[in-house]
């Protein structure tokens, strides 16, 4: 479990997949507007929310993530017209499967964040990080070899 060196508290690892066209720009806006979001959130830029293979999500957990969030353009606003509609179905089914095998369901989330929604980006990340703090470390989907 990653602990904060100073406080000894649990510091989760949170992976945020953000699409290049909306959500990544939304994160930029959050930054330039000086809106805070937790440093525990690590952003991975992807060309489209639909680029996120379900395996990426599992892989993130395997490598030690405690929570994974996918952000993309709002439905209807996809830079490639329809990518996020496919992503929506995929993630719904994947999250449902994770719930089915007993992984706590708060660990995964999808949020649509546009390039103009810096505030939404920051509140979403704050909320999500709070949820992961509440759930504690992910022990059900980690690769034990990656420990220490």
């Amino acid at each position: 479990m990653p602990l904060n060196e100073k406080t000894g508290e649990f510091t989760p690892k949170i992976v945020a997949f953000c699409c290049n066209w909306c959500s990544y720009a939304g994160a930029d806006l959050a930054g330039s507007s000086r809106l805070a979001y937790p440093a525990e959130v690590k952003i991975i830029r992807v060309p489209c929310s639909c680029r996120v293979n379900p395996m990426f999500i599992l892989r993130a957990f395997e490598k030690g993530a405690d929570g994974v969030i996918l952000c993309g353009c709002h439905p209807g606003d996809c830079h490639y017209s329809t990518g996020n509609y496919y992503a929506r179905r995929r993630m719904t089914l994947l999250f449902s499967m994770l719930d089915y095998i007993g992984v706590e369901k708060g660990r995964t989330r999808v949020e649509w964040v546009s390039a103009a929604e810096g505030v939404k980006f920051s509140t979403t990340m704050n909320e999500f990080a709070a949820k992961i703090h509440e759930l504690g470390p992910n022990v059900r989907l980690e690769d034990l070899r990656c420990k220490n």
């Binding site: 599992l58 509609y85 719904t92 999250f95 499967m97 089915y100 095998i101 992984v103």
Partner: protein
């Protein structure tokens, strides 16, 4: 069975087909194997009995690349797989002559052994028009086992005995559906996350990663499988930790989601008896409930739910309402 052999010989003789894809006698009565027959003489080894559970559709991918037509025998459930492969342009309809064969459920030797019967030397009475109980000969004597008690799980939840695609039909089928297909999935859904996790952990830790489930699956017909990639830790090897077990099973089930016809081959071949259908049926159940009823392989011109969408699809957060309490 003789009727099938005779018809196959006729079709070979008149040049309609150049080879036959069917089942031939194995080393034991309960393990016939998939085989090509190229001549009338070879057909003497042909069998079609209660143990011919193997779905021949997937073999038609390779047979479609051969010269000339192949005669293939398909059970009702196998025709769904064939349709799905047609849909994905993996088989060539013009290269197949399909005889739809009757089915009264297929047998699982493990079900017989589970009744405490061991040392099996022979099994008889499993033919399509055979009696209601099969005779199991063992080194300890003979036993009668009711046909339905030895049936594969998938036959108890059979989708129906109607062939979805064929050129001709031979043999009468019997209805075998006597269980709810989604009951086991619903039972797991009702568990708490801790119970679910413990259940799957116990089942999946049995997996030896033989890849038989993938190799037999008609939906798993990618020319390059992600699980053969050397860049991926999970390639063709025993699982190193509990994560790999789950990764393999979730990803495989995900890759076949919306394309899996629930033919039951994966669960049938798993040497460890892992109930793999529980994964596939979870996806089928979710798809049915969220995106409308869908049966892969029902026809050859459907659009699979995961390569489709509607503007009003549910948001992923719906899992919070539907999932574990």
């Amino acid at each position: 069975m003789q009727e099938l052999i005779n018809r196959a010989k006729e079709l070979l003789a008149d040049g309609t087909v150049v080879r036959v894809l069917g089942w031939r006698k194995g080393d034991m009565d309960y393990n016939p194997e998939v085989a090509y027959f190229n001549s009338a003489e070879e057909l003497d080894n042909f069998v079609y009995d209660g143990f011919c559970g193997a779905n021949l559709s997937k073999y038609m991918i390779e047979a479609s690349k051969l010269e000339g037509k192949t005669l293939v025998f398909l059970k009702p459930c196998d025709t769904y797989s064939f349709n799905q492969l047609l849909c994905e342009h993996r088989v060539d309809r013009d290269k197949a002559y399909i005889i739809g064969v009757g089915c009264r459920g297929k047998l699982d030797i493990e079900k017989v052994k589970a009744q405490g019967i061991s040392g099996i030397t022979a099994v008889s009475g499993t033919e399509l028009d055979g009696p209601d109980s099969i005779k199991v000969s063992t080194i300890y004597g003979d036993f009668d086992v009711a046909y339905t008690d030895a049936m594969l799980e998938r036959c108890h939840v059979c989708k129906g005995k109607e062939h979805k695609i064929y050129d001709e039909l031979i043999g009468e089928s019997k209805d075998t559906h006597d269980m709810d297909r989604m009951a086991a999935v619903a039972a797991i859904e009702a568990m708490s996350p801790t119970e679910k996790f413990a259940y799957f952990q116990a089942e999946l830790s049995k997996c030896i990663r033989c890849n038989a489930c993938r190799n037999v699956c008609p939906a798993c017909s990618c020319r390059k499988c992600v699980f053969d990639s050397t860049k991926f830790d999970s390639q063709q090897k025993a699982n190193v930790d509990s994560f790999e077990e789950k990764m393999f099973h979730i990803i495989r089930a995900f890759h076949v989601a919306g394309r899996c016809t629930d033919c039951g081959e994966c669960s049938r071949v798993c040497p460890q008896g892992i109930p793999l259908h529980l994964f596939n049926r979870k996806f089928i159940k979710d798809i049915d409930e969220l995106y409308g009823k869908y049966q892969a392989g029902e026809t050859a011109d459907q659009r699979a739910p995961l390569v489709n969408f509607t503007f009003g699809d549910a948001e992923p957060s719906i899992v919070n309402e539907r999932g574990s309490k």
